[in-house]
């Protein structure tokens, strides 16, 4: 019986957040849908890189600024790269933008998804160093709400987790299909515990640290986005420590949630989505895209996409709820 016929009456257009769900023609499975979202974000990145601001000295200055506070071995190549970009700004920025555009198109185009994902890992690592100063994680001046540990490293992580291969046994979620469940869970745990740690750094827990950061997001934004930033800043005014602790607790819960049974995992993933949405709206001003000059939509959409990669597959849910016999019937 073909995949299409086996799909029964399920509308063929509808995707499913279940790893390995029926792949009816025209209806990508869960992992493919997630790959397409990643492709779309790369496409957006490429287009953003074509903005007028990127063709000004401001862009090379932005690159050079990421060297500040980093160890010399990290900072010197950044400075060299920024100088090179400054001298060949139009050419290099056009190349950068086009590469990112092609990464997006390549991931969306099925025959090229593997080389595009592989290239995206290499590109992400390069940009993380030369464009984001390793997310400033070595400087201590880092804040989860403003995009730590750097959005671009999340692209690399997503490319690895969404790599189009399977390890044979049914995966409990899409992220486990390529690297296996233990490795996928470990990556999730490390990432979110790191975020919890960043949330507790002095720069984050200072009484006015979070407030000042949110208030600083107003510039150039549409009125309603500026209003969100103002409102958020007012809520956390002089509450930096309390806000950091609350955020860190939430992040730890999210981190360990990946080891919980599917119902509890779903709850923690919903929490992750909510945290990502709050960060994107209040802390990142939607990547500051509407203010112009943004290079990417920032980290929160990537965190949300990552959470969706861990959404329990139907087979995993069935395994947790039904006896073994029932599991066999559903998985077949």
């Amino acid at each position: 019986m073909s995949d299409i016929a086996a799909a029964g009456v399920r509308p063929a257009w509808r995707g499913s957040l279940s790893a390995g769900a029926g792949a009816a023609r025209g209806a990508p499975d869960a992992r493919r849908l997630l790959q397409l979202v990643l492709a779309g974000i790369w496409l957006l990145d490429g287009i953003l890189q074509y903005q007028g601001f990127m063709y000004t000295k401001g862009f090379s200055d932005m690159l050079a600024g990421t060297a500040s506070g980093n160890p010399g071995v990290i900072a010197r190549p950044i400075t060299w790269d920024a100088t090179l970009v400054q001298h060949h700004l139009v050419l290099l920025n056009s190349v950068f933008a086009t590469i990112q555009l092609l990464l997006g198109l390549g991931i969306a185009w099925r025959p090229t998804v593997r080389p595009a994902l592989a290239a995206s890992v290499a590109w992400s690592l390069g940009v993380w160093w030369f464009g984001e100063g390793l997310g400033m994680v070595l400087t201590g001046d880092i804040n989860l709400v403003s995009g730590a540990p750097g959005a671009v490293i999340l692209y690399a992580l997503l490319a690895v987790l969404l790599w189009p291969s399977d390890r044979g046994s049914p995966a409990p979620f899409a992220a486990a299909r390529a690297v296996g469940a233990p490795a996928a869970r470990a990556l999730w745990l490390v990432l979110w515990l790191s975020l919890a740690y960043f949330a507790l750094l002095p720069s984050s827990r200072a009484p006015q640290g979070l407030h000042d950061m949110l208030a600083g997001m107003e510039d150039g934004e549409p009125g309603w986005v500026a209003g969100l930033a103002r409102g958020g800043a007012a809520v956390v005014a002089h509450q930096g420590l309390a806000a950091s602790i609350v955020l860190a607790i939430a992040l730890v819960i999210i981190a360990v949630g990946v080891y919980l049974p599917p119902p509890a995992l779903r709850a923690t993933l919903v929490l992750a989505l909510v945290v990502a949405a709050v960060i994107w709206a209040f802390g990142e001003a939607f990547g500051e895209i509407m203010a112009g000059g943004a290079t990417d939509p920032n980290s929160a959409p990537l965190l949300a996409l990552l959470a969706l990669c861990y959404w329990p597959a139907r087979t995993a849910v069935a395994a947790a709820v039904l006896p073994a016999a029932g599991e066999g019937a559903i998985a077949s």
Binding site: R10, A27, P28, G40, L44, I47, Y50, Q51, S94
Partner: protein, 260 residues
């Protein structure tokens, strides 16, 4: 400023899209007679949008005044809005996800927004698009950047989806456009259904009145269509129209972003 040569490249791509769309319109009547001339609206939309975008990107390619383009795209938006509503009546919200008209509605609405929201006093009140053209030299900006952001996301979403579907393992090997939401068993029988689906598929578009052989269930018009259908070859192949749509979607998103 975004360099003008970059804008010229995108303008050249739009001219290619316009030429292809014009060629499709010229070639279409031979096989479209009696089979729903409404399908031509896709190519007409592509042609007009490509010409308008080329004019926005390169001053020398300007054609109509802004006001005229606003009217054109207002009518186009209304038309595709009507078609999406009709699709939705047949298929529910699936028409928005997999329908053929929804992307064109977004394209038309984006164009209308760009012309209506361009904050370039020189352009308004002048006879042409002098203020809009030459974005590389004197960048126009868009009012209501939130709308620009939303349209950009939608355009990118539809473009990536189109690319995926275009490269999918369809009956034709190169394209399998899941344009119409349909229960899976019906999908499986599309190849056998053959010519009925191909009528709409050959245009790379799903007409609102496309129906299956028995007239009961809507047939996903472009699914699995291809040279084997005996129609829609060469410039009339569905993948040509979808490729045009992808090129326009990406270019439109580019324009929206650089004018924010």
């Amino acid at each position: 400023m975004t360099p003008s040569w970059l804008l010229d490249i995108f303008a050249a791509i739009m001219l290619v899209v316009a030429a292809v769309s014009a060629a499709r319109l010229v070639a279409a009547p031979a096989w479209r007679v009696g089979r729903g001339a409404a399908l031509a609206d896709i190519d007409v939309a592509h042609l007009l949008m490509a010409i308008a975008m080329a004019g926005m990107l390169a001053t020398s390619l300007q054609t109509l005044p802004n006001g005229a383009w606003e009217v054109v795209f207002a009518v186009m938006t209304a038309w595709f809005g009507y078609r999406v509503v009709r699709d939705a009546q047949l298929s529910g919200f699936r028409a928005l996800a997999g329908g053929h008209c929804a992307p064109h509605l977004i394209h038309a609405a984006s164009m209308l927004y760009m012309f209506a929201a361009l904050d370039m006093p020189v352009a308004h009140g002048s006879g042409g698009m002098a203020g809009m053209g030459g974005m590389g030299g004197s960048m126009g900006t868009l009012e209501y950047p939130t709308l620009a952001f939303v349209f950009t996301l939608l355009l990118i979403g539809y473009s990536t989806w189109d690319l995926d579907q275009l490269s999918g393992p369809g009956a034709g090997g190169h394209y399998s456009l899941a344009t119409r939401p349909t229960p899976a068993p019906v999908l499986a029988g599309v190849a056998a259904a053959g010519a009925a689906g191909a009528e709409a598929a050959s245009a790379g578009a799903a007409g609102p009145d496309a129906s299956g052989p028995d007239g009961a269930d809507p047939v996903p018009p472009a699914v699995g269509s291809g040279p084997a259908d005996g129609q829609g070859r060469g410039v009339l192949a569905p993948w040509v129209a979808i490729s045009c749509r992808i090129a326009m979607g990406v270019t439109m998103a580019f324009m929206l972003v650089i004018m924010i």
